[in-house]
Amino acid sequence: MQCLRNCGNFSFVRVAIAQITPHLGDVKKNFDLHLKYIKKAKKKKADLLIFPELSLTGYTLKDLIGEVALNPKKDSLFGELNAASRQISLIVGFVEEKEKGLFYNSAAFLSKGKILHIHRKVFLPTYGMFEEGKFFAQGRNFKTFLTPYGKMGMMICYDFLHYGASYLLFAGGSEIIIVPSAAPGRGLSDKECYETSRMWELMGSAISRFSSAFLIYCNRVGFEDGKHFAGGSFIYNPMGELIAQASYLDQDFLIQKINLADIREARKKWPYKRDDRPEIILESLKRIIRNNED
């Protein structure tokens, strides 16, 4: 908690969202695309720039996964990203080869020249059109970590659709929850967006309110193998209100100043955090698991 005293001097954070179309399987091109957005975000005086899930590689990788994997400790590309993070904090998505031959769908938080945290996607969608479980190793943790802007937590795309994951970040004390995503749109109606876009917004509103935390969702756009990533990145405040949203379907660059005092205000009014009882949840979970029978 030492860091908080040193770093917690931000009242406002200028958050930038890069709603991009990564090039499938081309890390070099994507790295250049990242540099372009970093430059743009710095110009707009953003404190934090967020890229979508697998932003350095593209999504539908299949057997390409080993070719595009990076080791953040060894790859020079991360050296450059770390250097860039001296001026602006970054969240990037990539395939992480944590151990030889084990590939994770990861998102790294870089700040002040180093990686502060890596989240490895836990819930790998493997149903219908999704086959992540066939290619990726599964992450094992939802961890709240300290940043210059307060306590943060990350989930990647499908992680966010498992509310236990959000609870763990809430219990860990996350004040800002970030969800890099590569969510294909699906379902038509008479509305001018996919039905699934409404689903993400509903979750964003609910989880930000349940958690009395900012909820930042950064989705990508573009097509891969006919799948259409639906954009619509958004920020909800700790009261569950939408404060910024990027366009559906098009590439976009969103800048939003968030007021960290909103977290305190929300938690004063609705003391869900104060009244949380993780020990009861844990004991109940243990009982449920013990009694689980096939």
Binding site: L24, G25, D26, T60, L61, K62, D63, L64, L188, S189, D190, K191, E192, C193, G222, F223, E224, D225, G226, H228, L249
Partner: protein, 270 residues
Amino acid sequence: MKINGSFVEKVLTAFIKQELSKFNYKKGILGLSGGLDSSVCTFLAAKALKPANVLALIMPYGESFKRDVEDAKEIAKLLGIRSKIIDISPMVNAYFSTYPTDNKIIKGNKMARERMAILYDFSAREKALILGTSNKTELLLGYGTIHGDMACGINPLGDLYKTQIKQLALHLGIPEKIRKKTPTAGLWTNQTDEKELGLSYAKMDKILFQLVDLRKSKKDVIASGFKKEEVEKIISLIKKSEFKRKLPPIVKISARTVGHDFLFPYDWDK
């Protein structure tokens, strides 16, 4: 099954534009029959690309379907795209003069494949990507010729049911006479899809939507107000035509095999 016309138009035009750019094409090419589906696809292509970069091939068999040829020409003119009329009767007749048949389906399939061969030929001559026009209803029921009208480079219409294409056509401002046409595969005169399939598109689409999109069971679909025979017919058509929606199976005998565990994205290196 209601769609938002402007949203779907935006998605499909973006798809056409981005796919062409990914695969390094400037031009799109498609077979334009003067019917609803190919007209909708032509409208979308003309919106997505510069009209000069859209080439519509109108490929009648001799003098049949004259009215459709006129309609197709009119659409090309209206959109300012390039078009070309190629009569397929010399090639088709040459073949059947050697191997005659009275089977209308065999003849129709040959015509569909002749058109496919011409489209692929012009695709190479013009360096233009082929836009498919098979809709979701046809794809699910297998109401198309494998390696014929089902062949294409990309298919912008394949996830819209016929009744949704009608809604999109209205939104796109497609002339009423095309929107009101009786759907036909055009394999022979007086053929209509609904007569051949034995059900109206409105009904087929409602049944398909429940079975496919909503994943309802046969029992539930029947309970929602359809005749048992109708639902069973649709299910049987879906099952019988699965081979048309897949690449043929390859016998797996090696350690890594195309179609089994040699798994790369379609958009590999694009």
